[in-house]
């Protein structure tokens, strides 16, 4: 069957050669080089001995377990979906810098998932699913895999949506709330994730900045559509933070409040007040950052954040 389908051309052969391997985007090549020197291991590089969950109120621990479980599900999305982008780079014969770097990115997302799971476990137990698990929808997926294999969705649009929107807001919130994580193990984990994610975001912006001079009106529209979809259909449906879910979804009040309660206990997470401040700033930032490309992001309307 392995070769039969190749002979029958059910499996299609990629245009592999010439197989260029020399760096062509020094800034992205540098990210690949730096990633190799900044690898870490969730098992040994977090001061787990200072986690001491027994010193916290049980309600706070429960909230933190929910928060870190939810983070695990989100990180899993990155190992289950974004690797499809690496396949796309190969199929489209994209620059070697992109392919090399994205192999490390997949590895880093795996570490983040493992680390978040370990944190939930060691706080008292990881939750393998939401209380009301979705069949499909906001909590389950950000839809990147589908976009990655869709020839009608441009790579630029995917980068803008996944990296410059979804990952950027995640990191903005991390940066704004790191100081609230008073537990040393939690803080160290957040720092290590942040260190990797900064590279992930840099990758997206560097690529798009470099390609911007070649954007066609269609590319610009594609970017606008992808970013708007990511904000309205993913962020505003509570993929990252349930408090942002406009329609409430199936989450229980305890799940929605978990980020706040965990944050206030110093165990990671963020409060609605943090979101109220960070999210509008994030939208302003990416709107300004994408404007030179000709991308015009509209005002977004959210019942709690207002018009942003």
């Amino acid at each position: 069957m392995l070769l039969q389908k190749e002979h029958a051309e059910t499996y299609v052969q990629e245009h592999r050669y010439p197989l260029s391997l020399a760096p062509e985007m020094p800034s992205v090549w540098d990210l690949w080089q730096r990633s190799k020197t900044l690898e870490w291991d969730p098992q040994v590089d977090i001061p787990w001995e200072s986690l001491n969950p027994e010193q916290y109120d049980p309600d706070a621990i429960l909230a933190a377990r929910r928060y870190w479980s939810r983070r695990t599900w989100g990180e899993y999305g990155a190992i289950s979906e974004s690797p499809a982008l690496l396949l796309r780079f190969n199929l489209e014969n994209r620059l070697p810098d992109l392919r090399f770097y994205f192999t490390m990115r997949t590895q880093e997302e795996g570490r983040h998932a493992e680390a978040s799971w370990l944190m939930a476990e060691r706080l008292g137990g990881y939750f393998p699913q939401p209380e009301n698990p979705p069949t499909a929808g906001a909590v389950g997926t950000h839809g990147v895999r589908r976009m990655a294999f869709d020839p009608d969705t441009s790579l630029e649009g995917i980068f803008a949506a996944l990296v410059c929107a979804a990952e950027e807001i995640l990191i903005d919130v991390f940066k704004a709330t790191l100081h609230k994580a008073t537990n040393p193990a939690v803080r160290r984990l957040m720092q290590l994730i942040l260190r990797d994610e900064v590279r992930h975001i840099a990758f997206g912006w560097k690529c798009l900045d470099a390609w911007a001079p070649t954007f066609t009106p269609e590319t610009v529209t594609n970017i606008e559509t992808a970013v708007i979809t990511m904000i309205e259909n993913v962020e505003f449906r509570g993929y990252r933070n349930l408090w942002l879910a406009i329609e409430g979804g199936d989450a229980t009040p305890e799940e929605i409040d978990a980020d706040r309660a965990s944050c206030e206990a110093g165990l990671g997470g963020n409060t609605p007040e943090d979101e109220m401040k960070v999210f509008p700033d994030f939208v302003k930032k990416i709107r300004a950052r994408m404007a030179p490309w000709g991308v015009e992001l509209p005002l977004f309307h959210h019942p709690r954040l207002g018009a942003i």
Binding site: L2, H15, K36, S80, L86, T103, P128, Q129, P134
Partner: protein
Amino acid sequence: METDPASLLKAYQGQEKAFIERRFPLRFTPEIPVIRELYNQAKGLRWDPTTDIPWARFDPDALADDVREAARLTWSRRAWSTYPGIGENTALLVRLCLESGALGMDAKLFLSFRPAEEAKHLEVCFMLAERLGGYMADPVDIELRELSNHPFAQAALDKELPIEAFVAALGALDDQLELNLATARLQSSRNEVMRQALRLIATDKQRHVMFAWGFLDARLSALAAAEKAIVIDAICELVEEVIFVGYRNACLLPSTIREVWLEADELAAKHGLGASSAEMERRILRVTVAQLRERLAVWGLVLPQFEHTELGII
């Protein structure tokens, strides 16, 4: 026949849509401890081609022109055969995620690391070829292009192909062959830079092979007879239509294109530059197939004998 990128994406898209992903419950608890351990080892045994190989001690100018050119060809061709591992293992990771959130986390975590390891091996091949006079990005010869370009990444995403068949063919056979060849090339290399490069690659390859056997050990016995037959068929196809025509060994390339690559390997091997002789490579292939046959018998899988005009019956 090579296909345009949009058609390629559509083919992958069709395969992805054949799965209905059930992400929850999303379990992280180890279920195959040996694979979780391999993942942990991968984190601990990380290395960097740019800093962990003593490049400053590599002096290509000390080599005769023909020897340097031979090694350049050998390491360029090795890059072409290393590159597919990036896509194949990425596709395998995506496949496992599509199949279930509840099963296979050990394998998923392991596979989240593997493409980067393949990329490091590729970088080593590239750096060596560059220092030997320049990496060749294209085999040029159409036949060699086709022999080194198979859509195995797409096969990894094919719902109709049991995942065990893919892992048996590409892991238990092809990865094992790569490991055995890397070990033989290490033993016959005298250049310390190449020895270090091959040692680092072989260390990763050991884990890749262990992954395949650990994965198969957990799954093969549960397969129905028809699925086991597909496993054997996949291995046979890989042996007869891929390995036997020189996918890994220049000495098995078709006679029409063999000479230049075989001479390069022989000269590089003679000077201890990371290659092994044709005689040794043929022996390694026989040993690998024999090992595979013995191990598959544990699960009642019978690997038939293969006949090759030069290798005889193996």
